[in-house]
Symmetry: C2
Subunit: 511 residues, 2 copies
């Protein structure tokens, strides 16, 4: 048994499940011989012949925005054939998509063990997830973020939100404390509350070059816990978005993570690593051009070796880490599909919760994701090649937005700074208010200004665990380049944003 | 405010949700003018151009088992054109499917308000469900089970299991009591436990012609509650599977439901009506023939008027009823899709729970179900015509299984009885043990016998709320004709079952 078992909540550990259709397993009468081919009059599940869908054809693209991007010779269309990272020279990449289909068919029945057919995908299924997709998640993690111990498992979830709620339930009993980055994905706070847990914010350092978590603050907090929080239990977990942090866009290096993990070991807490877009590891900003540069495109091996930041899983030797993955950002959010990677005892607790509360994840989504990955992309490395195409598209978008900001009056006058993110889809825009300014009042006014100029942003303070704790360093907005419909929208969005700030500052911080 | 609001759990009533991307709504500065076309740099959602799926083609069947059934002139294939209920004479049915497509395409973008496109269906969405499908659920309930009051709503769920868990959460605080049919869908007991509720079994009368719930027992229980259960609070809800009850297959008439509703009114409790397969309203058993008889096929109006048993919703004037629907049995279980119909205050509580715990239901499933119903079947009445085809197929299966049992030695010797179900997919097989038999020991032994003969059934006792309470009348098994692959399997299943029982009885109730 791993040390993590001591951290599983009493509520989760007490759950057991069994189904009324399960037959007896012991006490067989003398002479009993099982029939080799029993017929089912017990399972209340409709035969797949009742399903109105006979097969599904998925018409797929080869790269993001295939239908709307202006293509050139150096376009993404050629990347699967000529992808290169050495300064624009084309080389044969080490990996080709095994099947470069435009349309894949999902049949009612298949005998291919890597595929999910209609008869299986649209039927009742185990809460852990359908076998081929579960196998994929394990292969994927082995290739990208191999844990530092053996007894880990994966389980399919209804996306990262569901994964986070399950992690909270698995760890937190009422009054249990969880450390959380002071600015964070606040819906998780509701999950913590639902489990009865108490969130305690940890300071972030929000500036270029920072890795997010204030390690000195965290170390001091843990060392002096009983003095600082005499009324609270010792922390049971840390929740961190370690790569492309939401909302700051900051990323922890592997060396930094090792130090945090050492603290987890020393003070015996679990780490919930939420990583919805960490695979979008971005190169540093460069002036955007109208065509995407091949020299920013990597091979899968280069990407894994030098660009993708290692997960906490990889330095985990004791099963302390619960990693929350999702297909929302790399495939589509409406799937409501993701997975958790954790010690098998944690996965067992999550599985029992799923069996009672959320039930099985959408089979429709599972069969679509699994079969697209297998039939279109040819498995793990083909899927990583898709991710590389996502990455380069996001990098371009980030460059376009930042360029629009860098060219602005507000930026040149140093009213604002931005943090160039190393991963993900968020940029922190820091507002340099004069000393002594009432941040929160001015930020609120500025949001109205943005609404008048026609651009939506998220004030950092909206994502604070504790608004009072964070009021002093909440002088930033979260921007994202994910939803825009075109480069022009990003350019215009950046312009409206910076024009509004310039106007606001020139009017002496007034509307 | 309806009386139901007093029945909502304190936990559910206390929940509120808000999202960090929500902008300020009050305190606009003087002179503020909203921009007519704001650009989004706030929502962390990927543009649909990132989705690898461009469009989906669904290849559909016109009736269940189209690919495997032997067809004749009187086949289901002709039903949409010649469906009739008057003794086999063909008449033009009042409703034709508006679009009789074999393949429907789901496009990336559509302007049809009844359809869900890829850009919407695979994107983040409201927890209540996607608009076109939500509209469908309301239209469907208006057509089939129009509630007796106005302030009702629907909300999409991840199937009936999810719906039941949400109903339990919405009503039950710790120590709250819920009445449950003594034999029931036991996974619901886990939902009750999870909410802290206390299940109290209500006696069922398990015999042909019965309607399930023992009304006299229920009335007496409520009248003398404080004497019978001095340590428990008064019941807050009744959970009932009123049509094709699981596991007994029994169905309550509308007159019966009115009496139960009167009790709910008098003793102020809510009714959770779980109805996964009630739309499969079955004609009485008739000797099966190799072709399906047209005279058992109904028009939609005939079906709604004379065959579909009214829901508790229809006699509900105060919003006491929470109806749990699912697409699992009529479309496919792997969708993990269903909906709840209830008073808007209950739906609000469920919505808040969804926002925190389960999140949005699979958009993939929502877009497939919605678009199949709209594009293939043409809306509510076309969907009901599909249900009628399901119904006639289930009726045939039920007839085949019962016929196999009726022809058996065990049946002729009166070792067993069966209850011909008026709806659904379950048959209760009652074993006539001699008086004084130790039921439970013999039933257990019999299950091993079935395993040796090669047939799976569910012992009623496996589905008891309280095994002690129900031990005296647990002399039955639940059979289902839903999963079998063919008529032959049902015939053989019935044969193995009855041969095993005959063998068991002839050996003096020994293995």
């Amino acid at each position: 048994m791993s040390e993590i078992t001591n951290l599983i909540s009493k509520r989760a550990a007490a759950r057991t499940t069994s189904h009324f259709t399960t037959g007896p397993t012991d006490g067989a009468p003398v002479g009993f011989k099982a029939h080799p081919n029993p017929l089912p009059l017990h399972w209340g599940m409709p035969n797949n012949g009742f399903f109105p869908i006979d097969s599904i054809d998925l018409n797929l693209v080869d790269y993001p925005f295939q239908k709307s991007l202006q293509l050139t010779n150096n376009s993404l269309e050629n990347l699967s054939l000529t992808g290169s990272s050495n300064g624009g020279q084309s080389v044969t990449p080490p990996l080709q998509p095994t099947k470069n289909l435009k349309t894949i068919r999902i049949e009612r029945h298949t005998t291919d063990p890597d595929l999910i057919d209609i008869a299986t995908g649209l039927q009742y299924a185990n809460v852990e997830g359908l076998k081929p997709l579960l196998n994929f998640t394990r292969d994927f993690i082995n290739r990208t973020h191999k844990p530092g111990y053996d007894d880990w498992e994966t389980i399919i979830t209804n996306g990262a939100g569901d994964g986070l709620n399950k992690a909270a339930d698995a760890l937190l009993d009422p009054e249990d404390v969880i450390l959380i980055e002071e600015f964070t994905f606040t819906p998780f706070l509701q999950n913590v509350k639902n489990a009865g847990g108490i969130p305690v914010p940890v300071k972030l350092t929000i500036k270029s070059g920072s890795q997010g978590l204030d390690l000195e603050y965290l170390t001091d907090l843990l060392e002096n816990w009983s003095t600082i929080h005499p009324d609270k239990k010792k922390p049971k977990a840390l929740y961190t978005i370690a790569t492309g942090q939401n909302p700051t866009g900051l990323t922890q290096t592997v060396e930094f993570r090792k130090k945090v993990y050492e603290l987890a070991d020393k003070y015996d807490f679990a780490i919930i690593e939420d990583d919805p877009y960490g695979y979008l590891a971005l190169p540093p900003y460069q002036t955007p051009s109208s065509t995407i540069k091949l020299d920013t495109f990597l091979t899968v091996d280069e990407y894994l070796k030098d660009h993708l930041v290692p997960s906490y899983l990889e330095i985990d030797t004791k099963g302390r880490v619960i990693r929350i993955e999702t297909f929302s950002k790399l495939f589509a959010p409406g799937l409501r599909l993701g997975f958790i990677v954790a010690h098998k005892e944690v996965i067992k607790a999550v599985s029992n919760y799923s069996a009672i509360v959320t039930r099985t994840s959408s089979g429709t989504s599972q069969l679509i994701v699994n079969n697209v990955i297998q039939q279109k992309f040819g498995g793990v490395d083909g899927w990583l090649q898709w991710i590389l195409k996502m990455r380069i598209t996001y990098a371009h978008r980030r460059d376009v937005l930042l360029n629009s900001i860098y060219k602005s009056e507000a930026y040149k006058k140093k009213f604002i700074e931005v943090i160039d993110p190393k991963a993900g889809m968020f940029v922190a825009l820091i507002v340099n208010f004069p000393e002594g300014t009432d941040f929160l009042a001015k930020l609120k006014l500025l949001v109205w200004k943005f609404a008048e100029y026609g651009v939506g942003v998220v004030p950092g303070i909206n994502m604070a665990v504790d608004k009072k704790f964070s009021a002093e360093h909440a002088n930033f907005f979260r921007l994202t380049y994910a939803p825009a419909n075109s480069d022009d929208e990003l350019i215009e969005g950046g312009k409206r944003l910076t024009d509004a700030i310039n106007d606001f500052f020139e009017k002496g911080l007034e509307f």
